[in-house]
């Protein structure tokens, strides 16, 4: 049986003609938007009639509900219809005379057309996609890293309120205790200092864990609660309190992720510490390498200063508004403590926001890389745009026919846009993949230090890549579209079958000039960095890094004599290896840090103020192992032992400064236990880093003649000629473990690597910038080649006629070359101006060189002009060798 529910007779519908426009506006518009041009009127009128009928019969509400069910219920089917028509190109027989279809349909058709047309030009597609993908991938990866480092919030509550105090690691427990009752202007202040500890776990060899010893306020100041247990309680830093520890998430995981660990004890530094809490994942302070936080007694009378202070300003305060509170604090300090003039902490009070302290050193490097990647991306866009323009000119006959058949600028524009979006999206996908692959490499290449460990690849970067790709596609399409709208291209196309002459290609030229300018900018940046690194390399650190292996070791427990003995034993055992030339121990490797500074008192020179000089403890063969020359006297030998006369070796800087016109040999210098006789003078060494300021006066003593022997020392091993120190490291490590199983190996490296580390961010950024500069050069050269080559192609007919009329081939080459170099020349000029303005951002990375170094700029320009000439020469030679008969036949 048929269920007849609605009862409309035909006359009902035709009598409501006057009311058909009564469809509610929004519904009518939505409905109209879903209809084919040829069907719109009919559908709207039909729907209007039925709506009116329903309103009369069922009331307004029910009629509206029906209408909206129609509007929304039609949507999925309409989308399917658009897709069907777009992909099959179907058009209904009755609509043939009005075939505009639905709005989106022609976009789908354009996309199909673009895909078909791209399929027939695989070389063009591969070139464009690879060029763009390079730019997109690079920009995405650097953006991902920069976002993670600079934009992600620090793992502390309202980190904008956190500041570090001036004179870092120079605050004493006495000062902290005195100031503690009243930190004016601060919600809280905590003192902390680095403290590496040895973790002994289930009979495994002891290993060093980077830690922080801090006052009880630390976690309150940072505003972070542990995920298990608690932070430190106020009594934890009282003298005599039980030592407690808060574990980092990573260390907790390594210890078995036992949730009941709170309250248990762990074996640290040969003693036990009760675990009171575990910090949540992602928390770190003051850098991500720290894995455990330890309570430490804050003794009111301890004046040795090695703490840094971190404070939380009262809510609403800024660093600028802290002047008065700081004034109050320094006044109180001045009243309680006396400071020598050169160490007066009350004079230079200054707060540094934690964010600035953490990001400050990496920001210039990251921004410079991001800028460089942006430049590469722009150049890639320009190259693809010129490629596209060239392609359009190549397809001039096809386009001319389409214009003749009535395709308007709008339709052509849309086709260009769709084509470039298709290219862009393919490149975006490839680029995102490249970014994912290259992310770790880039992360390792950037000088981020410990912050690098907080950066992980985030899949939202795929979205970023696609967004960049989309914007790039729009930029690319802009060039041919503008060219089309300005009539430049259109004119050329309409004359396509005649000669092709007349297309001036100004847009392409402007693009290539822009590209050259960008390449100059990057090359200049790279040049300045290369020169800076060369300066660093030329700086004489005073040591011979070649062939030296470095093993950082730690001994725990024992008396200083026992530790000194163990070091001598280790060194002797290493020396017996056939691969080893010399081995020695030193308490702090050169280039790493300033380290111990002791006042210097010289016998018979009471007028001399006790000046600070660098101080190093070594074993006998140290100077030979490190290639430090002996300038006068002798260095340590078998005569010098624990119970023999105390002797000392000074370096050239010390000799020049304190014994300017006299022989320092046999003079005596005060030590902690008496007087040491100077036995020799050795070459000066850069102690704290590759910096002439670090070649300060320094002196050396034997471990066995000093009452203090630290736990952490380094062993340097000079390997025999032709051996690689890096390859011998495992062998050396085994020998150390065999000789002294209780000694923990912290790190194994080479002195070469130490020198590279000392060059710091500049070296790494230089390597990256050189790579990017090279890439920019290549892209610039390809751009010049592309444009000059199109120019030649367009004027081939011109050239063959001239050649046939007697023009010398060399003149043709000269003309083409001249055009290429003119473009490069203008680009260079603009590039120089930009470089003068922008390379200043690199200033903080540079060493003994001006950001606008003329040599670096000059080199960049010469390289670019050379590359431009080669790029222009190829089409030039092609122009001079064109076969007149063939060219004229082609253009007939």
């Amino acid at each position: 049986m048929e269920a007849r529910r609605a009862h409309f007779s035909a006359p009902d519908f035709y009598n409501v003609e006057t009311e058909r426009m009564t469809l509610p506006t929004i519904a009518r518009r939505l409905l109209a938007a879903q209809q084919h041009d040829a069907e719109r009127e009919e559908v709207l009128s039909g729907m209007g009639e039925e709506y009116v009928m329903r309103r009369r019969r069922d009331g307004s509400l029910k009629a509206r509900l029906w209408l909206w069910r129609q509007v929304l219920g039609s949507l999925p089917a309409t989308v399917g219809r658009v897709w069907f028509r777009g992909t099959t190109g179907f058009e209904s027989e009755a609509n043939r005379m009005n075939g505009k279809g639905l709005g989106l349909e022609s976009w789908i058709q354009d996309m199909r057309f673009a895909l078909r047309s791209l399929r027939s030009r695989p070389l063009y597609v591969v070139l464009s996609v690879m060029t763009l993908a390079l730019g997109i991938g690079g920009a995405t990866a650097v953006f991902g890293i920069a976002r993670a480092v600079l934009l992600e919030p620090l793992p502390y509550r309202t980190s904008d309120e956190l500041v570090l105090f001036w004179n870092m690691f120079d605050w004493s427990e006495a000062e902290v205790n005195f100031l503690r009752p009243e930190w004016t202007g601060f919600a809280g202040v905590a003192a902390y200092r680095p403290e590496g500890v040895y973790l002994q776990q289930d009979g495994r060899p002891a290993r060093q864990v980077p830690g922080i010893a801090s006052s009880a306020e630390l976690f309150d100041v940072l505003g972070v609660r542990p995920m298990l247990g608690s932070g430190f309680s106020p009594a934890d830093d009282a003298p005599g309190a039980e030592p407690v520890a808060v574990l980092g998430y990573g260390l907790w995981q390594e210890l078995g992720a036992d949730r009941s660990i709170v309250g248990k004890s762990i074996d640290l530094d040969g003693g036990t510490r009760r675990v009171v809490g575990v910090m949540p994942e992602g928390f770190w302070f003051p850098d991500p390498s720290v894995r455990v936080w330890l309570s430490t007694p804050m003794r009111p009378n301890n004046r040795s200063g090695n703490y840094a202070l971190v404070g939380r300003m009262e809510a609403g305060r800024t660093v600028e508004s802290m002047r008065d509170p700081l004034q109050r604090i320094t006044t109180r300090m001045g009243e309680q403590f006396t400071y020598p003039p050169q160490w007066d902490k009350t004079k230079n009070a200054q707060l540094t926001p934690v964010k600035e302290f953490l990001h400050g050193p990496v920001r210039p490097a990251l921004l410079a890389t991001l800028g460089a990647m942006g430049v590469i991306l722009l150049m890639a866009c320009a190259n693809v745009a010129t490629l596209m323009l060239g392609q359009l000119r190549g397809r001039s006959s096809e386009l001319a026919v389409r214009i003749a058949l009535g395709a308007g600028s709008g339709r052509l524009t849309r086709q260009l846009l769709v084509e470039s979006i298709v290219l862009g999206l393919i490149a975006g996908a490839v680029g995102a993949f490249a970014a994912a692959m290259g992310f770790r490499l880039l992360l390792a290449a950037l000088p981020l230090g410990e912050l690098a460990s907080t950066v992980t690849f985030n899949w939202t970067l795929f979205l970023v890549a696609m967004l960049i790709a989309f914007v790039a596609a729009l930029l690319i399409a802009l060039v041919p579209v503008l060219s089309l709208l300005h009539g430049d291209l259109r004119d050329a196309l309409s004359r396509a079958r005649t000669s092709g002459i007349g297309a001036k290609g100004r847009m392409e030229e402007a693009l290539v000039i822009g590209e050259v300018a960008l390449a100059v900018l990057l090359a200049a940046g790279a040049g300045v960095l290369i020169r800076s690194v060369a300066n660093l390399q030329a700086f004489d650190s005073g040591i011979q890094a070649n062939g030296v292996a470095v093993l950082d070791i730690s001994t725990s427990g024992g008396t200083p004599e026992q530790r000194a003995q163990q070091l001598t034993q280790l060194v002797e055992s290493l020396t017996t290896l056939p691969e080893v030339d010399a081995a020695a121990a030193i308490q702090l490797l050169p280039l790493r840090a300033s380290g111990w500074n002791f006042g210097l008192a010289i016998e018979g020179r009471p007028e001399l103020e006790q000046t600070t000089t660098r101080f190093r403890l070594v074993t006998h063969d140290y100077f030979r192992a490190m290639g430090i020359p002996v300038l006068r006297g002798r260095v340590f030998d078998a005569r010098d032992a624990a119970n023999s006369e105390q002797v000392i070796v000074i370096d050239q800087s010390l000799a020049e400064k304190y014994f300017p016109n006299e022989d320092p040999i046999d003079r005596r210098i005060a030590t902690q236990t008496g007087w040491a006789r100077i036995i020799g003078v050795v070459g000066a060494v850069a102690y704290g880093g590759l910096n002439p300021e670090e070649r300060v006066p320094g002196r050396y003593m034997l471990f066995e003649q000093e009452p203090i022997v630290p736990d952490d020392n380094s062993i340097v091993v000079l390997v025999k000629d032709g051996r690689s120190p890096a390859q011998l490291l495992p062998l050396l490590a085994r020998r150390i473990q065999q000789t002294a199983p209780t000694v923990a190996l912290r790190e194994m490296t080479t002195m070469q690597h130490e020198v590279a580390t000392a060059m710091g961010p500049t070296l790494r950024i230089m390597q990256l910038m050189t790579l990017l500069g090279g890439l920019a050069l290549l892209l610039g050269a390809i751009g010049v080649y592309g444009v000059v080559s199109h120019f030649v192609n367009r004027r081939r007919r011109d050239y063959v006629i001239r050649l046939a009329l007697g023009m010398k081939p060399i003149a043709a080459i000269r003309q083409v070359l001249g055009r290429g170099t003119a473009l490069v020349g203008i680009g260079c000029l603009i590039g120089i101006l930009a470089a003068l303005l922008l390379t200043r951002t690199l200033a903080s990375l540079l060493y003994e060189i001006d950001a606008t170094d003329p040599l670096a700029l000059g080199l960049a320009i010469v390289t670019l002009i050379a590359a431009g000439c080669v790029a222009a020469l190829i089409p030039g030679i092609r122009a001079s060798r064109a076969n007149p008969a063939q060219v004229l036949r082609e253009n007939a």
Binding site: R4, R5, F8, F84, E93
Partner: protein, 104 residues
């Protein structure tokens, strides 16, 4: 056998509605016919999308008459309907709904 894939339920309904409203088979009318007969709401968009597909398969033909786009069934359309009906009857053969109802 029909060279086309068998008709979908909605395609079959649209084709039958065209036959039933022969001579006046425009989109809105086809929709109303299905709605009237089946008693269910039918979205106008779904009708036009199906009409496109049927025309692309050459099962219906479209033409213009007095500002309306009308449809008529083609020979292939008739074949497809016949084939669909036959297939359905083959499927029903041996199925006794009354007995099923009694036994459930």
């Amino acid at each position: 056998m029909n060279k086309h894939a068998p008709l979908g339920t909605f395609e079959e309904q649209v084709l039958l509605a065209i036959v039933r409203t022969a001579g006046d088979a425009f989109g809105m009318n086809v929709r109303r016919e299905i709605e009237t007969v089946t008693g269910r709401d039918v979205a106008i968009g779904a009708v036009y999308a199906t009409l496109d597909r049927l025309e692309a398969k050459k099962l219906v033909r479209s033409f213009r008459s007095s500002d309306r786009k009308l449809f008529e069934i083609t020979r292939s359309g008739i074949d497809a309907l016949a084939e669909t009906k036959a297939m359905r009857e083959r499927l029903w053969r041996g199925v006794n709904v009354l007995r099923l109802l009694e036994s459930s």
